[in-house]
């Protein structure tokens, strides 16, 4: 009898270079996580390795230094995010601050609420979504794409936030099955909203689990059937991964110190050396972990 079985299902597990083979100059790339946690760094490093130009980066609602690194690496034309920084490590990303102050990159200025309006509009195939807060602030002045309008029902002033539709989303989570069902540990921050808005979703995970194991807790599946899964243990390093390991603060500080030299003294030598050492030289994610070292890596999940 000509029927199919689950062995005919397409396994979407792949590696970073294959997952990112379609990356092109000028694309809009979204990156998940939040602040110092959950950024898909093995994928971000692969993006930087490919030296793309003029990317529009849709960061997380609170982007971390992964966006700053992309800027420092010269990949970025425009940033869509309410924040780029490292909390107590550095309030504002040094490369971000430098390039914004010098007019070298554009920022599509929004707050957190408008950020989700833009993503949800794309996901809902709407040209815009309205928001009430932020009317009366400077946001429509510094972002002319935000349109103040009178709503057609009650005639009240609202802001129309245009849709933002990423070509590719890069996310990191705890686990996935071979078919692309993703399970975050914890809330998943805003990763779900990014996935819904994006045309192509690539997720790195700490661990690939069987479909049978995943189905034991379907309520934990946060994003169904993404386009590609990349197995990347410690893939968020030097950021934390919820439920798995903490931040590598010294390495983040090392980046900040290097980038700060560029910002304050217009000297790229330190930041170029950082990018070279930690991104361009490692052959792949395992080589990266090898260079970071087992003692340091496994020290991050002792707490």
């Amino acid at each position: 009898m000509s029927t199919v079985t689950s062995s005919d299902r397409t396994v979407v597990v792949t590696d970073e270079p294959s997952a990112l083979a379609g990356l092109q100059d000028g694309m809009t790339v979204a990156i998940g996580g939040f602040a110092n946690s959950g950024h898909p760094m093995s994928l971000v490093r692969e993006v930087i390795r490919r030296r793309p130009k003029d990317l529009t980066i849709v960061g997380a609602a609170t982007s971390g230094l992964e966006v700053d690194m992309l800027i420092a690496a010269g990949c970025v034309k425009k940033v869509i995010s309410p924040y780029v920084g490292g909390e107590t490590i550095v309030g504002i990303g040094p490369a971000f601050r430098r390039c914004v102050e010098n007019g070298e990159i554009d920022v599509w200025e929004i707050d957190e609420a408008m950020y989700y309006c833009a993503l949800n509009a794309a996901a809902q195939r709407l040209p815009f979504l309205p928001w009430r807060a932020l009317v009366g602030t400077s946001f429509p002045e510094v972002n002319p794409d935000l349109v103040l309008f009178d709503d057609p029902v009650a005639g009240e002033p609202l802001l129309a936030v245009p849709a933002v539709s990423p070509d590719i989303a890069l996310l990191h989570a705890g686990a996935a099955d071979p078919y692309g069902n993703i399970q975050h540990v914890g809330s998943g921050f805003g990763d779900r909203a990014i996935a819904r808005a994006s045309d192509h979703v690539i997720v790195s995970v700490e661990k690939v689990i069987s479909n049978e194991e995943l189905r034991r807790a379907p309520e934990k599946t946060s994003i169904p059937l993404v386009d590609a899964v990349v197995r990347a243990p410690f893939g968020a390093h030097p950021f934390s991964s919820v439920g798995w390991y903490l931040e590598d603060v010294p390495l983040l500080k090392e980046y900040v110190a290097a980038a700060e030299v560029w910002r304050a003294h217009d000297d790229r030598s330190a930041v170029d050396a950082f990018l070279d050492t930690y991104i361009h030289q490692p052959e792949d994610h395992m080589d990266y972990l090898q260079r970071i070292g087992a003692r340091r890596i496994f020290g991050l999940n002792e707490f």
């Binding site: 009898m1 000509s2 029927t3 199919v4 079985t5 689950s6 005919d8 299902r9 397409t10 949800n120 794309a122 996901a123 809902q124 195939r125 099955d177 078919y179 069902n181 909203a193 819904r196 808005a197 045309d199 479909n211 995943l214 189905r215 379907p218 309520e219 599946t221 169904p224 059937l225």
Partner: protein
């Protein structure tokens, strides 16, 4: 050729048009579309996304897919890979482009518009209040293609113009969907116990594509309340293969719902 019922025929031919990779909602109270979807899933759709009892599932390894009477029957959730909260589902219309669905109607018109709202020109005094459009209008707008389906084929259902449009087909003909910026691809086929119909590309009017075994073109025309486009040569709808009937009867419809 094996014996088969009209419902079995319809399930087989409706399933044939569904390729791998689609999102396929599996309902409870429309047994023919349910069987069609599951046929395509088991025979060639290992990567289809099956929406069943508020889960997203894959059923290719399930030996027998016994029907459930209600869409909320949570025994069907045993195969779920993720849960699908209803409100959450409306946050992702991008994903719906790749879903298909079947919509019926208390009226269906020559441009494939469907009416589930009611019969009667005065909305405040309907002669018959229907079930309402529910989710059909939204699916008709966003899916890359969808299907009309009616278990009865009479001039009362197939009318020149529906009293109310709850799922927009081709509207008033060419240009309507473009004018309203509706992104989906519109209705592809209309399946009935008598025939399969498609839409003439230029006029978007419903056209006879094939007559089901034992049905004449004249019967179809007589049962249709609008002027159906009838090509010179109308083939017969291909009958189910033995293989299709075996899959249908052993795995999709083991209790024989479609045989009665």
């Amino acid at each position: 050729m094996a014996d088969f019922t009209t419902k079995e025929l319809m399930a087989c031919i409706m399933g044939r048009d569904l390729e791998d990779g689609l999102g396929v909602p599996v309902g409870a109270n429309l047994p023919v579309p349910r069987a069609a979807v599951l046929m395509s899933h088991l025979m060639r759709g290992p990567n289809q996304l099956v929406l069943l009892s508020w889960t997203r599932a894959n059923l290719v390894d399930v030996p027998e897919l016994r029907p459930f009477e209600f869409i909320t029957d949570w025994r069907a959730a045993q195969w779920g890979e993720s849960y699908w909260a209803h409100d959450d589902g409306f946050l992702n219309m991008k994903a719906r482009a790749n879903w298909i669905f079947f919509v019926g109607g208390i009226q269906i018109d020559q441009y494939g518009n469907s009416n589930l709202l009611g019969i009667g020109e005065d909305y405040k005094r309907l002669k018959f209040r229907g079930p309402g459009g529910v989710g059909t209008g939204n699916m008709a707008a966003f899916t890359n293609r969808y299907y009309l389906y009616s278990q009865t084929h009479t001039p009362r259902i197939f009318v020149p113009k529906v009293d109310y449009v709850t799922a927009l087909g081709w509207g008033e003909g060419p240009g309507t969907r473009e004018r309203w910026k509706i992104p989906g691809g519109g209705p592809r086929y209309c399946y009935t116990p008598l025939c399969v119909m498609d839409f003439e590309p230029e006029t978007k009017r419903m056209r006879l594509k094939s007559t089901n075994p034992g049905v004449s073109v004249d019967e179809v025309v007589a049962a249709t309340g609008f002027e159906l486009v009838v090509p010179d040569d109308v083939p017969e709808t291909p009958a189910p293969s033995d293989e299709e009937l075996e899959v249908l009867r052993t795995r999709v419809d083991p209790t024989g719902v479609l045989r009665s």
